[in-house]
Symmetry: C2
Subunit: 203 residues, 2 copies
DNA sequence: CTACCATGTAGACAGCGACTACATCGTTCT
DNA sequence: AGAACGATGTAGTCGCTGTCTACATGGTAG
């Protein structure tokens, strides 16, 4: 029998790590503070010292998720190849992240975050769009894409890939392979932006 | 004091109706069978006679949601105007439904349905894609859109509009008006399909 | 008329989140 | 060095929940 120190020492990280695993097998609604406490061998009240309530833990999970996702997207955006290839690379990174962590993604885009965390979450969550916007501007300056408000176009790309990510994560693609869906979506987006998007011409 | 009959008579419908309202103000996780029973003045065990557990109620909500949504989409697809206009009309109907019933939509596309309901849900959920496919085939035959696998293209449209719907419903459009997002997305999709989508050319 | 069965009630149970009072222990001030 | 303090843990309690059981009611079919 190993003697446990009275203080865990890294309880917050341990809880977050365990919670990440739990939501992917049981969903968010299957996440219980008491079970989590049992899992890491602390009393049922201990988590409250680090997360004032269950939602605070979920908010922290969302933050961690955005940081992980942003890292994946950022490295993908810096990959080798043409602008077109890097665009697809980012799309794959996003959808790949979604398929790997479906529950985490749904937590990230949940609407029920505490008001104090939501500001932080919003800024961290918007980073993906910023990256997309940068790539689109670059492609427009290179003459690969038609002119058009980059803000609007980036939002369209984000919106479409977000749909692909969520449906792929939720296995709602009706049998179509994820890669095929991503390829078809990116192809459509790129083709559309090449010829120009009427609703984005008021730049 | 009005005497209540021992049997409610329409308890199932009353529960579903009340549950619809509840999830839109409190979310799915705020839906409680006991509170629901209180709301419609029956004992806490009564709902179990109609929904074997909480998830069964949620599954029924999802079914009702798909039926409502399909009705909206179907009427939109039969609207007046050019193919292009009808396409936008369907998109607006989908996103409009999402914004009007955000919680219901997330329930519909939740992954945790009972295995017995999931088959029913899948068939009802796929109807939207079928409608999109029909419109795309029609547009291709009329020469308005380039050739390409309608199955694939319909999935791309569905995927993109689903993303727009969810982000609009969750207020994640970053300040952009919903109509603008829908217009930009449909413009991009239509433009892309007009010039042709490489990944959909293997029809 | 009676037997049946769908639909209601009432009570019990364990698990949950949240709150409280108290225990432990590293750190900091004197 | 020693005392005070604050951060972090434990333990107990509360009302709420979903689910299970036994029992009550009343429409309907034989």
């Amino acid at each position: 029998m190993i003697e446990q120190p009275y203080h865990h020492g890294k309880l917050r990280e341990a809880l977050l790590e365990r919670a990440m695993e739990t939501i992917e097998v049981a969903g968010v609604e299957g996440l219980s503070l008491r079970q989590l406490a049992r899992d890491v061998n602390v009393s049922h009240g201990a988590p409250a010292k680090h997360f004032r309530d269950r939602q605070a833990l979920i908010d922290a999970l969302a933050m961690a998720g955005f940081e992980l996702m942003n890292h994946r997207i950022l490295t993908a955006s810096e990959s080798e190849g043409s602008l077109r290839e890097r665009f697809v690379s980012v799309a794959k990174a996003y959808v790949g992240f979604a398929v790997a962590h479906p529950a985490l993604l749904s937590v990230m885009y949940s609407t029920k975050h505490h008001t104090d965390s939501s500001a932080e979450l919003r800024s961290t969550g918007g980073q993906g769009i910023e990256i997309a916007k940068g790539m689109i501007i670059e492609a427009q300056e290179a003459g690969e894409l038609a002119a058009g408000n980059p803000e609007t176009l980036a939002m369209v790309c984000f919106v479409s890939l977000h749909g692909a990510a969520l449906l792929a994560a939720g296995k709602h693609l009706d049998g179509m392979p994820v890669e095929a869906a991503v390829a078809a979506t990116t192809d459509t987006l790129w083709a559309g932006m090449t010829v120009g998007v009427p609703a984005a011409q008021s730049s």
